[in-house]
């Protein structure tokens, strides 16, 4: 057990529109100059939220009606680019607990799962509808049901999919694999010997 089982995420949603939102945009490189992940929350999406003088660019994440939102919605290939774990760390430290998108970049997806952040796949027309529901009522609660593979919002039920191994990991609370990997060190040593590394 690495934490609690992640089976349901409740919260308000916020839609950050766009395909191919990359990890440089999610957390610009200068914020990677650090030795812990502790300070990353305020830097999330920094360069599209604030201008060079620190004035707000009126990004959805800073809209008053989305204050306290816990579920991020976006589009295709979310989290592409650099493997920086700083990206999902910033998302988590900002207060977001799950991401709903059309598709996810692979390394980003893996990093999110390790942190217990569900990456939820929802079809284009459903996300469009969900974004409309949120726009109409920003306080509407979204319920992501990982067990049932559904998202419920304002009496609408949307079918979702997730990567099988990620869903299993979240439900079983084994989303951080370190303890599991450490249980078979004798087999690891055998493999190392067979390959000539020991």
């Amino acid at each position: 057990m690495t934490g609690n089982s992640v089976s349901k995420i409740n919260g308000k949603g916020v839609y950050v529109k766009g395909n191919d939102i990359d990890t440089d945009r999610i957390i610009p490189a200068r914020f990677l100059k650090c030795v812990t992940f502790d300070e990353l929350g305020p830097a999330l999406f920094y360069d599209v939220r604030f201008d060079a003088k620190g004035q707000s660019l009126n990004h959805p994440l800073d809209a008053a009606e989305h204050a306290g939102a816990e579920i991020l919605i976006s589009d295709a290939n979310f989290g592409c680019g650099s493997s920086r774990e700083h990206a999902p760390q910033a998302i988590q430290k900002f207060g977001l607990k799950a991401v709903i998108a059309d598709s996810f970049a692979e390394i980003f997806h893996g990093n999110c799962t390790t942190l217990g952040i569900p990456c939820v796949v929802m079809a284009n027309q459903d996300r469009t509808k969900l974004a409309e529901l949120i726009a109409a009522d920003p306080d509407a609660e979204l319920i992501i049901d990982i067990e049932a593979l559904q998202v419920i919002c304002a009496n609408n039920i949307f079918t979702i999919t997730m990567k099988t191994s990620a869903r299993e990991a979240l439900l079983s609370a084994n989303y951080d694999p370190l303890d599991t990997l450490m249980r078979t060190l004798d087999k690891v040593d055998q493999t190392a010997q067979r390959l000539g590394y020991a």
Partner: protein, 474 residues
């Protein structure tokens, strides 16, 4: 039934299957650098764990190191701290560390291959998405996050799902002035930036077979920009000759034994693949990006796209990209003004990249107002380039010859764009803000195309600038 290289290397390195359904994969070679490892060492400390196989991890400094002045302590306190944390952690764990002025420091994906640490048939990981570079040697080489760096340090393994494998055959001879960089940009343009998600790419075909190891590294480097976490090329005589005599490669009879083992990893003739596409080398022109993803690329003689030709979110993406890049739709990309020219990075920072440009630029001058920098990928590349006098050729043409590091690829060191400067760059990403300014604009291209742009002060066709004509058939 025959197996492909991915299946062979995967099967060789699987320790077992985990309850989650994922597999525990032994990592033969682990490379670390100062950005994505400090937190991993911190996590180990928190859990009271030590590094299990210190001899299988190698460390260097590349992202945050300045390229003009590397004297310590660095001016940037946090950069200095990150190097110090890495230095202390590697010393404590008994991990070999290549710091600046050690003679072996450089961009991690240049250092591994040039030392002969990267060898066919290995699984290779690093907290950096361009780890795919090492696939050029016939490896499963992939980028990982910091928590996974922690996993490898603690257990020398990762939890992974196997990938599907797509074979991309490129057939034919590349035209004059068309390089490995153009091949990889063309592949990403064709298949899209997420075309490879869930796949490993096997690059094959006569075009690939004809490439040198450094060219193969350029192709494999940008696999991740096409969504493929890893990309590889089957090892062959070119691979083995490159490895012969390298510092960490066995010699004599041991070398011959190694060659036999390495050869056995190549995909069998009857190997199967989950998908296959074939591309013609003759269709590939010098390619440049026009937009804000590596897939938004066109040939040098093409025009920017017409948003009216695309639908839905794609239309928004085209409009947003044109607006950000301050380009008009339907306009030739040739002639786009540039302010900065950068030759370097893990994509194109090796000796042959600089040699190819040096062979062309003698007698030319960087245009007035253009800042041009050439950044060798490692201390060894720097030394070899200097021995050949390449640094002098670059300087005579108006380039600054710098010290090794990631430099302007990604803005974690002082090499950054200012304001909305446009950079002709031999690196691998053109996302918004990538090169250090939130309004800075990046145009990706090959090293000789960067040189041509530097000389003209605008995006240009290197074949015209340098008078490159096809060899007369003899």
């Amino acid at each position: 039934m025959g197996k492909n290289l991915y299946q062979k290397v995967w099967n060789d390195h699987v320790v077992g299957q985990l309850d989650s359904g994922q597999y525990q994969l032994f990592i033969a070679l682990h490379l670390i650098h100062e950005v994505t490892s400090p937190q991993a060492f911190g996590m180990l400390k928190d859990k009271g764990l030590s590094v299990r196989y210190p001899s299988r991890t190698f460390a260097t400094v590349d992202h945050i190191i300045p390229t003009d002045n590397q004297s310590r302590p660095l001016q940037d306190d946090m950069a200095e701290k990150m190097i110090q944390v890495l230095s202390d952690a590697t010393e404590e764990a008994g991990i070999e560390f290549f710091p600046p002025q050690s003679g072996s420091q450089g961009i991690v994906h240049v250092v591994g291959p040039e030392l002969g640490l990267t060898q066919p048939g290995m699984t290779i990981c690093c907290g950096d998405s361009h780890t795919s570079t090492h696939g050029a040697f016939g490896c499963i080489a992939l980028g990982i996050g910091t928590s996974q760096v922690r996993d490898v340090l603690a257990s020398q393994t990762l939890a992974m799902d196997p990938l599907k494998v797509r074979r991309i055959r490129v057939e034919g001879k590349l035209g004059v002035g068309v390089t490995a960089k153009d091949v990889t940009l063309h592949i990403i343009r064709t298949l899209g930036v997420n075309g490879g998600v869930g796949y490993a790419y096997e690059y094959a075909g006569s075009t690939i077979a004809a490439m040198s190891m450094e060219e193969r590294m350029t192709v494999c480097n940008m696999s991740i920009e096409g969504g493929a976490r890893c990309g590889y090329i089957n090892p062959d005589a070119t691979t083995f000759e490159f490895l012969r005599g390298k510092e960490r490669v066995p010699a004599g009879a041991e070398f011959d034994k190694s060659v036999a083992k390495w050869q056995s990893y190549a995909s069998d003739a009857d190997a199967t693949f989950d998908d296959e596409i074939v591309l013609n080398a003759a269709d590939i022109e010098p390619t440049v990006t026009w937009g804000i993803t590596p897939g938004q690329a066109i040939s040098i003689n093409e025009s920017t796209p017409d948003p009216d030709q695309v639908e839905g979110l794609e239309k928004n993406l085209v409009n947003d990209a044109l607006e950000y890049m301050q380009l008009q739709a339907n306009t030739p990309i040739k002639g786009t003004h540039i302010d900065v020219a950068f030759i370097g990075s893990c994509t194109n920072g090796r000796l042959s990249d600089f040699q190819a440009v040096a062979n062309l630029i003698a007698g030319h001058q960087v245009a007035a107002g253009v800042k041009a920098i050439a950044v060798p990928g490692s201390e060894k590349v720097d030394k070899a380039a200097r021995e050949l006098g390449l640094d002098k050729i670059f300087e005579a043409a108006g380039f600054e010859w710098r010290l090794p590091g990631c430099s302007m690829c990604l803005a974690m060191n002082p090499d950054k764009l200012v304001g909305d400067e446009v950079c002709a760059s031999s690196s691998n990403r053109n996302f918004i803000g990538r090169q250090g300014s939130s309004t800075g604009r990046t145009i990706l291209m090959s090293p000789m195309m960067v040189a041509a742009a530097a000389i003209k002060g605008q995006v240009a066709d290197a074949r015209e600038v340098f008078g490159l004509v096809p060899a007369v058939a003899g």
